[in-house]
Amino acid sequence: MLKVKDLNVYYGKIHAIKGIDFDVKNGEIVTLIGANGAGKTTTLKTISGILKAEKGVISFDGENITRIKPHLIPDFGVAHVPEGRQVFAQMSVYENLIMGAFIRKDKREIANDIEMVYTYFPRLKERHKQLAGTLSGGEQQMLAIGRALMTKPKLLLLDEPSMGLAPILVDEIFSMIQTINGAGTTILLVEQNANKALRIAHRGYVLETGVIKLTGTSEELMSNDEVRSAYLGG
């Protein structure tokens, strides 16, 4: 479904992504794990068109999306949940979700999908009129995911959904990610929290300073000594 070939991304002279290859197949949860500064966010931003690739090809369902403008990426069925819960703080929960459906015109289906998001995250339903900026961190993350689901994506790009959240909330969100995947949405999950990410993912890639060091199924990575000592705490 998603194929990334020889991707190179620069910030000025800084070579942040140094020729990585990876792919995500239909129906999978694939995780890209790596320490802070490894290039995880850069990779996702390049897929969704916010950053430009210097070299390399990103293709989605056979179409080359390397040079597509960011606001047109949702049309291809790719939704990006940016790092750090970027919700529209001064707008209500409901309005945030409506904005997610900006590119869609099917009013009745949009209403259905809002209800679907509310079933995934009942806390959002209780707070549908509340301003998003007044939600707790976990609720904002749920809203950011919900808003991305409103674009009706085939592939969901998640940038560190566990960041800054209490463990119990992380579990709740990760189990919801599994549910969303079970309902047919493919997921590329970027995480520093390798432990939790590998537990729900089918496969994973280990990213280190812009290079992919290792890849394998989640079981393989979890039992790999290097991964255990560097990312799973022994």
């Binding site: 606001h71 970027q86 001064q90 707008m91 590119i103 009129k129 301003l131």
Partner: protein, 337 residues
């Protein structure tokens, strides 16, 4: 539209009509002087200016410090148009000429908005503030030196077509249109860009295009305001459209609450009527503004209404039932009525 929204619309329509009748009667029976009628017209014009500026300053959250320039473009082009029409057809109906000329002025200002907005809104950061200040001065100096439109003497002989009724109803129409924009899909898109540009793009919003659109609509209505002004005064003095005038309009918007349309309306009324009542202190006008601004920033930095909208329906409901029907409405917060 649910029944609550319908009721609220109806209530607002009735209120708007009543206010009109009251003012008309008071002026007809000389309770209010013609001079006061003039103050009402100026207030209407300032409302249009503040509301249109709020689209960029409030909804979009960009510094726009050249609103007077777009007003000037609207004033000059509409004035020129109506002079030409009246020369060719002296008996042309006033309202029609006013509307047509205003549209010409508004479109001209809107085109200027596209020209200024496209390059400066493409970039992230506060370029717009700087560009609009520069643009404001260029426009003013252009009109001072452009003799076909009167040069430094200003443009004279503009038919005085703006009367109280026309000013009032055109303002009502503009208020309605800008409110409608505020609750529309594209209005929300403007606000979401203010909240977070990357998340907006990830939601499929063409941010550059929407920003330029917001700036263009804002400029268009500024041009309409300029036209009403030109046809009220009967002449245009290019020095009216100084940088300080843009600042005055910005202050009105900030005092009312960035993003609050009813706040802009209220603030435009207070800050236009107050200095007129204190006519003897005319030279202190800017002092009053500055003082109001300082006091406001200390006690209520979000402006009179913050981001919420005043709702007549809500007020009456509370007064009669002594309890809140729902949370205070706002165009970009909860549901407004």
């Amino acid at each position: 539209m649910n029944s609550k929204t319908k009721k609220a619309y109806l209530l607002n329509a009735v209120a708007v009509f009543l206010v009109y009748i009251v003012f008309l009667t008071l002026i007809r029976f000389k309770v209010l002087s013609n001079y006061f009628g003039g103050v009402i017209i100026l207030t209407c014009i300032m409302m249009i200016m503040a509301l249109s500026l709020n689209i960029v300053a409030g909804f979009l959250g960009e510094m726009a410090l050249g609103h007077a320039a777009f007003m000037a473009i609207g004033a000059y082009l509409s004035g020129f148009t109506s002079i030409a029409i009246m020369n060719a057809f002296p008996t042309a109906p006033a309202l029609l000429v006013l509307i047509f000329s205003s549209l010409v002025g508004g479109v001209a200002a809107g085109i200027a908005g596209i020209a200024i907005g496209t390059p400066s809104l493409r970039l992230r950061g506060d370029y717009l503030g700087i560009v609009t200040i520069g643009f404001g001065e260029i426009v003013r100096i252009f009109f001072i030196n452009f003799d076909p439109l009167g040069g430094a003497q200003g443009l004279k002989g503009i038919p005085r077509l703006t009367n109280l009724s026309y000013a009032y109803w055109i303002t009502v129409l503009v208020v309605f249109l800008i409110f409608t924009l505020g609750v529309s899909k594209y209005g929300r898109a403007i606000m979401s860009i203010r909240e977070d540009e990357i998340a907006s793009e990830a939601s499929g919003i063409p941010t550059t295009r929407v920003k330029v659109m917001a700036f263009t609509i804002s400029s268009f209505f500024a041009g309409i305001g300029g036209s009403l002004y030109a046809h009220y005064q009967g002449y245009i003095d290019p020095d009216k459209f100084q940088f300080m005038f843009s600042i005055e309009m910005f202050v009105i918007v900030v005092l009312g609450g960035l993003g609050s349309l009813t706040g802009s309306i209220l603030s435009a009324i207070v800050l236009t009527v107050l200095p007129e009542l204190l006519r003897g202190f005319a030279q202190y006008r800017l002092l009053i503004y500055s003082l109001a601004l300082v006091i406001m920033m200390i006690f209520r930095p979000q402006g009179m209404l913050g981001r919420t909208e005043f709702s007549l329906y809500h007020l009456i409901y509370v007064l009669t039932n002594k309890r809140e029907p729902y949370k205070k409405g706002s165009i970009d917060g909860g549901k407004s009525s």
